[in-house]
């Protein structure tokens, strides 16, 4: 059961890290536009190349 000395603080730290990450994401405005964020994930980074030849 000595393993608890490592596991319990480790678990608490992981939990704390998760909470910190959530609070950070909240503060940096990542929940302000949920609809937009869903689309941004699939948007192209660059404008599509003009009339790119179809690749086969």
């Amino acid at each position: 059961m000595e393993i608890l000395v490592i596991l319990v603080p480790l678990a608490l730290m992981l939990g704390g890290a998760g909470l910190a990450a959530f609070l950070w994401s909240l503060r940096s405005g990542q929940y302000d536009d949920l609809d937009g964020a869903a689309w941004r994930a699939i948007a192209d980074d660059e404008p599509p190349p003009q009339e790119a030849p179809a690749k086969r």
Partner: protein, 729 residues
């Protein structure tokens, strides 16, 4: 005369030599629009940030302070095909956003704490049946306390505050039993841990907060979203006015930047955005949005004009007055204040449920304690059992029962074109059994339409439409729209108060008053609609007359029939003259109507219906309807309504059809049904769980399972509200 657009009111400095403006944008729907706008705006030199918010339909822009004029962004967006207007965050919306973030933060804290406490609880639960040492169990309990107590102190704030507010006002609400339950559960768990006992309820208490915060956050988020959309709509209406900044120089400024005493120019075809008095000029104005009266009023020096009036024929200079100076407005404001004060404080379903719930639960817990003491157990064990009763009955599912349905139903209504202004509107709308319609702008469309287009040869009508494009007169605008005219005739001349003329292929074309076109004889002969404005069109010797009037909304008849099918009474209360009201009532086969009704009369009629026990839904758009919108049980306005009315109404519907009225009633009825069902589910679960708790065999495991089970059941049931508004009429 020079016209400039002045947006400086909306620009704020963002620090480090940057300036910031928020624009509300119409017609942004997808990723494509988002990318197009962001690229298009970023391409402007000096722009450092262009970010679209798809949820709120807004663009945030930042640029280096200097020569860049914000009007340029709006022009650029117009080139890209989007209408944009500067947007100013109202304080009400800012509060909602802050509140929403706070709840999300609380929810995050509570959820993480729940997960971690659960991680510690599960070994304890399984250890209780295997080989866990009491010391290890105590250690885990202490760790749970370490996590749960600070987390509950932080995440419980919304409930504790609200409960405290209710108690200091000597009332009670749902948050009182919640707060008592959570505090007792935590307190008892600490005592039990100190005494090395087997069961502690840290997990149940913090999980309860998590579930309740989900409900709270959904509720808040719905309100925030509605506010954002309402704010955009206000911005998209582009309430600007042409203010004189010099004797001959005018600047188009937002209404917020106009102060009493300023002088504004009101051109023909413009809607007045301020209240004031005419100081120069002569014109006809359409006050139908204010009084419901469709006949034009002559405005000259000294005539008061109100925000929402449409200027028809000539240019007017208006001196802006403070709102209370205008007599009609003062009267409406007084009635509105009275109606709002008298609005019988509707008790929300959740509050009614908690008023019954709290005493029953607390009495049960007390009886449990006393019962066990009488039966011979120790005070300690009896109190532990009593607290277990409180924990297991804590209104977890009850707290989710209503917000989840509201969120889903408001989403369904939004799809049907209805926006909610107040959270409890759904419950009240579901109860409505009598609908009072205003006529002008509500049953009829706010814009004009040509009624006899079919009688005129298409090529002549097309010419009339093109000629009409050269005039600002609203009737001309209606002709142009009906003819779907795109290209104006070059060299067309407008004669103020008469009409427009032009020469095409050596034939003189005229559009305007019958006398201007020499068509009086035609008007004399024809039997015409008394409600319509008549314009004449002459092409050389050929003469035609066009009858222009406000048409009924395209589906008004079907909607009225649908309402009658649902056993809902229908009635018209209009400020317009009798013949106009009779015509509309007849066309829609509405038996009950009143014409020439004043705002005070409208309220009197609503009060009378209330006394008879009817729940009245008032649908109106005019400023004269605002007091009755507040007096009715529930109220709705079209999006074209006067500012004051729209702010007063509980629901706002978009677009030309009237169908959203029926759709909203259907959604609301379905939603109320589901809310009741959810409450019964929550109660049913309690009926099963409470005997177990009273008997004293509840373990923390049973409490946690019962709590999450009932909450998930209620949430799943709420999702059924989504299919509410498929079928409209």
């Amino acid at each position: 005369m020079q016209v400039t657009r002045d947006f400086s009111h909306y620009v704020r400095t963002a620090g480090a030599g940057l300036q910031h403006i928020d624009l509300a944008v119409e017609g942004v729907h997808c990723a494509g629009c988002m990318a197009k706008i962001e690229r298009g705006l970023s391409a402007i030199p000096d722009v450092t940030l262009a970010r679209v918010n798809l949820t709120d339909r807004r663009v945030a822009l930042e640029w280096k302070e200097g020569r860049l004029d914000p009007a340029r962004f709006i022009d650029r967006l117009e080139e890209l095909g989007y209408k944009a207007y500067p947007y100013e965050t109202e304080s009400a919306e800012a509060t909602e956003v802050a509140e929403s973030r706070f709840l999300l933060r609380c929810l995050g804290v509570a959820a993480f704490a729940t997960m971690n406490v659960m991680m510690l609880s599960i070994p304890v639960w399984s250890g209780n049946v295997s080989d866990m040492l009491p010391e290890q169990r105590d250690f885990f309990h202490w760790l749970s306390a370490l996590i749960a107590l600070p987390a509950a102190a932080y995440a419980g704030q919304p409930f504790f505050r609200s409960a405290w507010r209710a108690l200091s006002n000597k009332t009670t609400n749902m948050d009182v039993p919640i707060s008592i339950g959570v505090c007792l559960a935590l307190g008892m768990s600490v005592v039990e841990t100190v005494n090395h006992a087997e069961h502690a309820y840290f997990d149940a208490a913090i999980m309860l907060l998590t579930f309740l915060l989900v409900g709270r956050f959904l509720d808040q988020n719905m309100r925030r979203r509605t506010r954002a959309i309402a704010g955009n709509l206000a911005a998209l209406k582009a309430e600007t006015a042409a203010k004189f900044v010099g004797p001959d120089e005018i600047s188009q400024v937002p209404v917020a930047a106009i102060h009493p005493g300023d002088i504004v120019l009101l051109r023909p075809g413009e809607r007045c955005a301020v209240d004031g008095t005419v100081i120069e000029g002569r014109s006809e104005i359409d006050q139908s949005l204010i009084t419901g009266e469709t006949l034009y009023v002559t405005a000259e020096r000294g005539t008061p004009v109100y925000a929402g009036s449409m200027n028809i024929s000539g240019s007017l200079r208006v001196r802006v007055s403070a709102a209370s100076e205008a007599t009609l407005l003062a009267e409406i404001t007084r009635l509105l204040d009275n109606a709002l004060a008298a609005r019988s404080r509707y008790m929300r379903l959740a509050d009614r449920a908690s008023r019954l719930y709290a005493p029953v639960v607390h009495a049960t817990a007390l009886i449990t304690i006393l019962g066990w003491v009488i039966a011979g157990t120790s005070w300690h064990d009896a109190i532990v059992t009593g607290v277990a009763v409180l924990i297991i009955t804590c209104p977890c599912a009850l707290g989710l029962a209503i917000p989840t349905v509201q969120t889903v139903a408001s989403g369904a209504m939004f799809k049907a074109g209805v926006l909610l202004n107040s959270g409890d509107a759904i419950e009240r709308l579901a109860e409505a059994d009598h609908v009072i319609f205003d006529k002008t702008g509500t049953l009829t469309l706010p814009d004009l339409d040509v009624t006899n287009a079919a009688d005129i040869p298409p090529d002549s009508f097309a010419l009339a439409g093109r000629l009409a494009l050269s005039s600002h007169h609203p009737v001309a605008a209606a002709v142009a729209q009906a003819a779907d005219a795109k290209s104006p005739i070059v060299g067309a001349v407008e004669e103020a108060g008469q009409g427009v003329r032009a020469v095409v292929d050596n034939v003189e074309l005229r559009l305007g008053r019958p006398s201007f076109c020499g068509a009086e004889a035609l008007v004399g002969r024809a039997t015409l609609d008394p409600e319509a404005s008549i314009v004449a069109f002459s092409k050389g010797a050929e003469k035609f007359i066009l009858s222009v009037r406000q048409g009924l909304r395209p589906d008004a008849q079907a909607v009225i029939a649908a309402l009658k099918d649902r056993n809902i009474g229908v009635e018209i209360l209009s400020g317009d003259r009798e013949p106009a009201v009779i015509a509309a009532a007849h066309a829609l086969s509405i038996a009950e109507w009143r014409a020439g009704v004043t705002p005070a009369d409208k309220i009197a009629r609503i009060e009378e219906l209330k006394r008879r026990g009817s729940k009245v839904l008032m649908v109106g758009d005019g400023m004269n309807d605002a007091p009755s919108l507040a007096a009715a049980h529930v109220s709705m306005s079209p999006i074209s309504a006067a500012h004051l009315s729209q702010a007063t109404a509980d629901l706002v519907f978009l677009g030309r059809p009237l169908a959203p009225v029926v759709a909203a009633i259907d959604s609301a009825r379905k939603a109320l049904h589901l809310m009741r069902q959810n409450l019964w589910l929550a109660i049913g679960y309690n009926v099963l769980a409470v005997p177990v708790a009273i008997s004293g065999v509840v373990t923390p495991l049973i409490a946690a399972a019962a709590m999450s089970g009932s909450s998930i059941l209620v949430m799943l049931n709420s999702l059924r509200a989504r299919s509410a508004s498929r079928e409209i009429v």
